[in-house]
């Protein structure tokens, strides 16, 4: 039985894979967008480090699922940079979902 996705693992993977996608992308506009998303994700991961993340919340599960979707899109885009636009959309959804989780921690 596959293990349940863990946000830390998925988010770490997303940031590392997004780095690879940025290095592989040549188109300047997409590259700029991806760099901006990398910064946002990096900030979100930073907000989660050394914190007790509430794993039983809807926000955690939604964020983890969104990051998983984003990771699939990034993997596709690394192999075919023409798919970068779809990756950008999915990453944006993931950032939004993680922001909601971080908001719980800050509350």
């Amino acid at each position: 039985m596959p293990e349940d996705p863990v946000l830390g693992k998925s988010l770490g993977k997303m940031i590392a894979d997004l780095t690879d996608l940025i290095l592989a992308t040549k188109e300047p506009v997409k590259k700029k967008k991806l760099r901006a998303q990398h910064k946002k994700l990096s900030k979100k991961l930073q907000d989660l480090i050394d914190k007790t993340v509430p794993v039983d919340t809807v926000e955690y599960k939604t964020a983890t699922a969104a990051v998983e979707e984003g990771n699939k899109a990034i993997r596709k885009a690394i192999n075919d940079t023409a798919q970068a636009a779809d990756a950008i959309t999915k990453i944006a959804k993931a950032i939004s979902a993680i922001a909601k989780l971080v908001a719980i921690l800050a509350a």
């Binding site: 863990v6 946000l7 830390g8 693992k9 770490g12 940031i15 590392a16 997004l18 780095t19 940025i22 290095l23 760099r35 990398h38 910064k39 990096s42 900030k43 991961l45 930073q46 989660l48 480090i49 050394d50 914190k51 007790t52 993340v53 794993v55």
Partner: protein, 309 residues
């Protein structure tokens, strides 16, 4: 008239009178010597202890390296791009690898190392001064653990200290076996707890632990260095960006090899320790996890050698 006893006769008479006492002491000694660990048990203790001491020592040194590298990568990033919004500045170069956070983890790795070293000493030497030195180090490291890392009760710690103080003299094998059992049995939960916390810290797959910081700092530098490289207009900028890219890529490799192998090794220490508990308490036991630990330590050692080249 009573005949005067010759010295030889006197000696013989004394010997015969005391023979039962001497014989009983000899038999007791032989029996107690026989109550030491079997060769297989000694091998299990020796194999486990060497590997565990190596894991503790490597984890301590790797923590210090990760902290140094996080600081160095942040310095590189600031040199390349200055301090940007939401990114750590010169006052936060170490990010989550603060002195306090690093020292807390190092106390835990020290406890793991001294546990391994004491068992190794008990398995390999009869020198009471060596045993005393290893004992003092283990007790000090256990006592130095922060509350969140402590699982051992005062009674368990006292029992360990008492068993170790008794080692020495004629009954050394018997007392050593007794000490090994007491140390292993009473440390079981403590070692499992330390391994869980440390394994998580070295596993980037666990939410929000120290290795996530290492990952984040590395990836941030890679992206920033790539951007500077792309926009650079002169040799100096390109040289700085290239050096930063190289540093970040080396740390990526460190994360994917050494840090990963370390997390796996720490996880195996916990399983091997549970196996060791059975090994010291029964003459029938398996060494599957102890052998897995040795294999993981070899992988860890190889990974470190590759990065040093």
């Amino acid at each position: 008239m009573k005949k005067k006893e010759t010295p030889m006769k006197k000696y013989e008479r004394m010997f015969h009178n005391r023979f039962p006492i001497l014989a009983a002491a000899l038999v007791a000694g032989l029996v107690l010597q026989g109550c030491g660990l079997t060769l297989a048990q000694k091998k299990a203790v020796g194999d486990f202890s060497s590997a565990t001491a190596a894991v503790g020592k490597t984890a301590s040194s790797e923590l210090a390296t990760m902290r140094d590298e996080v600081i160095a990568m942040n310095v590189s990033r600031i040199q390349l791009k200055g301090v940007e919004q939401d990114e750590p500045g010169l006052d936060k170069l170490e990010e989550q690898f603060t002195v306090e956070a690093t020292m807390t983890r190092q106390r835990a790795t020290d406890a793991l190392r001294t546990y391994g070293e004491l068992l190794k000493t008990l398995a390999e030497t009869d020198r009471t001064e060596d045993i005393k030195k290893s004992t003092d180090e283990l007790l000090a490291s256990y006592q130095g653990l922060p509350d969140s890392y402590r699982k051992m009760s005062k009674e368990e710690l006292d029992a360990v200290a008492k068993a170790l103080q008794a080692v020495g003299g004629f009954w050394v094998e018997y007392e050593k076996a007794k000490a090994v059992k007491t140390v292993v049995n009473n440390s079981n939960l403590q070692i499992a707890h330390l391994c869980k916390l440390l394994q998580e810290d070295f596993d980037p797959g666990v939410d929000g632990k120290l290795s996530s910081q290492f990952l984040n700092t590395t990836e941030r530098l890679l992206v920033d260095a790539d951007e500077v490289m792309e926009k650079s207009k002169n040799f100096t900028e390109r040289a700085a960006a290239t050096a930063a890219l190289q540093k970040a890529k080396e740390n990526r490799l460190r994360r994917d090899t050494v840090v990963k192998a370390l997390s796996n090794s720490i996880g195996t220490v916990s399983a091997a320790n549970a196996e060791l508990v059975k090994a010291v308490n029964s003459k029938e036991f398996t060494v599957k996890d102890i052998e897995a630990l040795q294999k993981n330590v070899k992988i860890l050692s190889d990974a470190i050698q590759v990065l040093r080249r």
